[in-house]
């Protein structure tokens, strides 16, 4: 039956909606291979329709299958693109190596370009009123207080604060930090807010 491999591919993606999977290079190659075969069969049958008129129905069935495969592949790539966009907002401009290796090369290119675009846009914000840009990935929720208490979940290393102090973030250590300095780390899962 046509288009079964591509459905496997999409079901895989659908199961894991919250996270991104490894780019399935192997399966995509197989699908494109299948499409090439279908296309070649259609070419030869389409040329033969002059003698055998009944063949055009077969050509149409194969053509539908080709269109279906194309649609599914595009949907796969598109849905990954949406997720990669989210990666930029949640992980920041530098991806951890274990996330980086889930993307294909062209996807990583796209990520870098998107990241640059976003950064350029954020720098340009508020220029006319004297600000040198706003980081839109901060303050996604209105801050309730200037300082919050946080618990460190992983061994992060040294963090230099805006006032020049350097603190060491070790696993299970607690800190009382300015909200503006630690909210990115909270979003990245390095710190956890203690209420």
């Amino acid at each position: 039956m046509f288009g079964e491999k591509v459905i496997e591919l999409l079901k895989e993606a659908e199961r894991n909606r919250e996270t991104i999977d490894l780019y399935n290079d192997e399966k995509i190659r197989q699908i494109i291979q299948e499409m090439h075969v279908l296309f070649k069969m259609n070419m030869s049958d389409a040329n033969a329709t002059t003698e055998n008129k009944t063949l055009w129905t077969t050509v149409q069935v194969r053509h539908s299958a080709l269109e279906r495969n194309k649609r599914c592949l595009l949907a796969y790539l598109y849905n990954r693109m949406i997720k990669i966009k989210t990666l930029r907002w949640e992980f920041g401009s530098v991806l951890p190596p274990d996330v980086r290796e889930l993307l294909s090369d062209s996807e990583y290119d796209w990520f870098s370009k998107y990241s640059t675009n976003l950064a350029t846009y954020m720098r340009s914000l508020g220029e006319d009123i004297g600000y040198s840009g706003i980081d839109l990935t901060e303050n996604l929720r209105p801050p309730k207080s200037l300082y919050i208490e946080v618990l460190c979940i992983t061994d992060y290393g040294k963090l230099e604060l805006e006032d020049g102090d350097v603190i060491t973030l070790k696993k299970n250590s607690r800190h009382f930090l300015p909200t503006s300095e630690c909210q990115t780390l909270i979003r990245q899962g390095v710190l956890k807010q203690i209420i």
Binding site: M1, F2, G3, I7, L10, K11, A13, E14, D45, N52, T54, L55, T57, T58, Q60, V61, S64, A65, E67, R68, R71, C72, L74, A75, Y76, Y78, N79, I195
Partner: protein, 194 residues
Amino acid sequence: MSSSNYLSISDILVTNEKVPCKFLLDLPKMGFLDPSAAENDLKAGTNIEIPLWLAESLYTRRPPLVSVDLPKIYKETYREILNADACTVDMHKLGQHFYELGCYIAKHDIKSEVSATLLNTYRQRFKMILSATVSTDSINSVQPLSASERERTKSAVVTERALSSWLKIGDCPLTTASMIANHRKRKRAEMELS
């Protein structure tokens, strides 16, 4: 096929469901579509189940290559069951994409009873789902839901929880008190652990 859904994975999965079809013309070399046939060619008049995407695209050709029949869950017998009491139906088993597939199928139903059944089913089940989401523990007691119903239920539960927590924070002294209590509880637990 509506173009707005072109990139939607869930629509692709819906259109992957099989529907019974009758082929109106001969299809050379397409015998493999019918698993019970040994011949190389598919003869006109063959009844087989093919995925909806293939059926839709062959149906819209001029002249159409197939005529689409109703899948059994949209036929008279099942329609009667659904119209009697839709809330007792196990939608997970009946059809993961009952409503979505129904919307595609409805136009192949000459008497247009399918669309009425869909609407009626949704109306009945919506009440059940709504009341289940408001109370926290009854969600598991309702009959299994279809994929889109599950989705909707999940977001309803999240919204409900967000609303009630927002309402509670408006209630200042009590929240502070309970938060302090929780904090102390945690501290005590930590002290006991260490």
